[in-house]
């Protein structure tokens, strides 16, 4: 019975490994964020490795690999983001702000900064309501 369970685990892992191989090869290399997509696909391979190790009876190796695999994926993705992706694609750093003008509760950042600046039209309009003080002369 245990033999059948081991065989099932190994066959599942072989299936997952072939899926990840096909996935890596079928990605177009000119598409956007292809490195992150490949790191993601190799995550399937990591889990397949862990399943195969459990099927082979190597539980300690499976546990170690289960802990180490996310660190590898994160380290590679972080290095790619910091040195290659961010420097080659400068448009990733600037964030485009999409504001709906019809929404009365959301305003664009430029509009708010213009309102808060000293020479804004809003402040000039507020001068109509400025407070005037009366000087009272006690001698009169």
């Amino acid at each position: 019975m245990i033999e059948y369970i081991q065989s099932a685990l190994l066959i599942i892992s072989a299936f997952l490994i072939i899926i990840s191989a096909v996935g890596v090869l079928s990605l177009k290399k000119d598409s956007k964020n292809v490195v992150y997509a490949r790191i993601h696909i190799f995550g399937v391979f990591d889990i397949a490795c862990i399943i195969a190790m459990i099927g082979l009876g190597q539980y300690l190796l499976a546990g170690i690999y289960f802990i180490l695999a996310p660190f590898i994926a994160h380290a590679i993705a972080n290095a790619y983001w910091k040195k290659e992706d961010r420097e080659n694609n400068l448009d990733l750093v600037t964030v485009e702000e999409v504001v709906d003008d019809n929404n009365p509760f959301i305003h664009s950042k430029e509009k708010m900064q213009a309102l808060e600046s000293e020479n804004s039209e809003k402040l000039k309009a507020d001068e109509r309501f400025s407070v005037t003080m009366l000087d009272i002369d006690e001698g009169e």
Binding site: E3, Q6, I18, L25, V35, L56, Q58, L61, I76, E84
Partner: protein, 88 residues
């Protein structure tokens, strides 16, 4: 023929296919892709060694596999840290 024997060979064949795919992927223009491909090849080789060592009664195959997984991790993370550079 034993079904466990066949399934072990199936995994080895799948691992060989994945190693070729990772080799192809590591030829991508980015350095990180080469790092990822080499890391995957090392891990796939460690798993293949686990299976083949059990089939052919190789000596120390578990230790070599553990060393490959552990030092593969250390090398990959070290290379990634050097590639990423310092924080700004």
């Amino acid at each position: 023929m034993d079904i466990l024997f066949i399934s072990k060979y199936l995994v080895v064949i799948a691992l060989i296919i994945l190693m070729l795919a990772a080799l192809r992927a590591s030829a991508y223009k980015s350095t990180s892709m080469g790092l990822l491909g080499s890391s995957v090849i090392v891990n796939a080789f460690a798993l293949a060694l686990l299976i083949i060592g059990g089939l052919y009664n190789l000596e120390f195959y578990r230790d070599i596999s553990l060393a490959l997984i552990f030092f593969g991790f250390v090398g990959t993370v070290a290379f990634a840290v050097v590639l990423g550079g310092d924080d700004e």
